[in-house]
Symmetry: C2
């Protein structure tokens, strides 16, 4: 079945258990597309480092990764303790590891959400006097459930989004919000995959997405694998091709969405949204409900990760700027909701006014207890 094949081809993060013990496995996205290298990480610190150094990236994917990482941390903890630790020690250990994961990337809320969900599962199991080995299995299962739910959510977003794509459409996307950024299918790319498999002809302009080039390295590769025609462009060309290239719609992902519909996403998203509005091109954000942070009333309240200057001054280790200059490197920007045509989630499509439509879509999904206060 095509959908299953897609999952196998593009598996981003998964759990492994064998005679050597437990591990979180992933494809090293920092080396794509030049090298396909799989990592087997047996320590939670390695998992945190993989998130920080963008070996795994994409808001849903890093949520899944941290969830597996917490399960891994517990398995390791139980193995290393000479005698069975007290539940309070287990709880303390999981909180500490959770804090470590939280600090890896501050903007994507799915990460915080997944950590909170796994910790809540641990609390519940411990309060039910669950044995520690069973607790470890429960956390592993919870992480797997997050991955499985993300996969299904992406497929649903793909189906909703595909309805907005007509046969022959020329589209544009920024960064990588594809299979690699999720447990499968992707967010922004899922509608393209579903439309393509339904026989619609597409052509996708792919922004290369400086500084880390997720568009050139990952999205171009994913679309190429899928057989969807694409044109790789520099980020600076987006406006030119909106004016001259016949672009019919723009699809991007999100790292966090505030209650009013303001969207934090990869740096450059805001420019594209303004350009889209100037050209009367629909601008769609595709993201699961785990990306929606109803506790933030607007984008101003979303923390923006500042990354190292050498991402700008060097490309693959080669200096491209004079030494000693000042650099700004915000990893994300905020797109105010007024630029967003619709937000496509697994529960349906939200439109303006978002401060009504988003809470409606999230009814019964988020409860305030469950969402991390970060």
């Amino acid at each position: 079945m095509a959908e299953e094949k897609h999952l196998r081809d593009m598996r981003t993060v998964w759990w492994q258990e064998d005679a050597r013990g437990e591990a979180v496995c992933m494809i090293d996205q920092s080396l794509l597309p030049g090298q396909i290298v799989y990592l087997t990480l047996a320590h939670e610190q390695q998992v945190a480092d993989a998130i920080t150094t963008l070996k795994v990236r994409g808001a849903p994917a890093i949520g899944v990764t941290a969830a597996f990482g917490l399960a891994l941390a517990l398995y390791r903890f139980l193995r290393e303790q000479g005698e069975t630790p007290a539940p309070v020690e287990v709880e303390e250990h999981l909180r500490t590891v959770g804090e470590m994961f939280r600090r890896t990337r501050p903007t994507a809320v799915n990460l915080q959400w997944a950590i909170e969900r796994v910790l809540r599962r641990a609390d519940r199991a411990l309060s039910e006097q669950c044995s520690l080995p069973h607790l470890a299995q429960a956390l592993r299962d919870e992480a797997q459930a997050i991955a499985d739910e993300d996969f299904q959510a992406c497929l649903k977003m793909g189906r909703y989004g595909a309805e907005l794509i007509a046969d022959g459409d020329i589209l544009l996307t920024h960064c990588n919000a594809g299979s690699l950024a999720t447990a499968g299918w992707g967010t922004a790319l899922a509608p393209m995959y579903v439309a393509h498999r339904a026989g619609k002809h597409l052509h996708v302009y792919v922004d290369e997405t400086r500084p880390v080039l997720q568009g050139a390295r990952l999205t171009a590769w994913e679309l190429q694998q899928e057989g969807i025609p694409l044109t790789l462009i520099t980020d600076s060309m987006a406006g030119h091709f909106m004016r001259c290239g016949g672009i019919k719609a723009i699809f991007v992902g999100a790292d966090r969405i505030a209650a009013n519909g303001d969207v934090a996403n990869k740096i450059g998203t805001y420019s594209i949204a303004v350009l889209a509005q100037a050209h009367a091109i629909p601008f769609y954000v595709v993201a699961p409900r785990s990306t929606i942070d109803l506790k933030r009333s607007s984008g101003d309240q979303i923390p923006i990760e500042q990354r190292r200057s050498d991402e700008i001054t060097h490309i693959r280790g080669v200096a491209i700027a004079p030494t000693g200059i000042q650099v700004a490197n915000p990893a994300f920007d905020i797109t105010p909701h007024s630029y967003i045509t619709a937000i496509i989630t697994e529960a349906g499509i939200a439109r303006s006014p978002y401060n009504k439509s988003l809470p409606d879509l999230c009814l019964g999904y988020h409860d305030t207890e469950r969402q991390a206060d970060i």
Copy 2:
């Protein structure tokens, strides 16, 4: 004197005559800022190649280069001919070399303008029965005059433009329209240099300018040399910093300006202009009158150079995209005049309606005979 020091520090292209013969010399801009390498080119084909491969770039600078290249071609021709050639052969040779230079870069009109000016000088000298050695000197002098006039024009643009900059302003520029792009001072950067030397405090956001990174490599370097504080950003950050960074004005150069004020400039300029309008930030184009092509009624008529795909798929020889993908690489885009607050020339500042203000500024400068029909 500071202005002279500036010229010496930043000399881009110059003529050399010594016992070994004549040569066109230049700093190899493709290696900046990592290596400072001066080229001594003794053959017009080398000069053409240097333009094509961006060893020298910037609309005014390549005009000066081609002018010197034509003089070089004549010196070489006279040296190689066993017997004194007929004037008609000289004329034919110069036309052929002129055609070679014309083909190097189709968008910048200064190149066409400078070639035409030198060829016209040759016609005049030949019609006056000028001796061939004197003709060669006349062409060299004409090329030098183009360079000297460009230097003076840049200084004048700098003075006009500096009036638009207040103490403490935060500015943004794209690509390199600095000393390196001209015979000195630059176009878009000249107002910053003049304002800075007048004691105004500035801070400049510099777009890195993919794919060739003229912003990161050249503008950042020039401003650093001059002691003007700057922040290097990726092109995708321009909108974010217009929203959050307090940018007060944007200065860019131009490769060709149509009679209605539409501007061809480095790819990405159009996006910035649209973003500037959305943020109510003045968007200034700085260019000498040699950039204005009154024969083109609008930007639609300006040819846009398409460059090689490996400028996008590789950075300094390292692949950053999957092999075999389709790439678009227009070197320039068109910014419609409605986005342009003012066009700053050496003869004053033009404002809308440009189809009146530009011809007025060019009165007595362009005559239709003189401008190439290309």
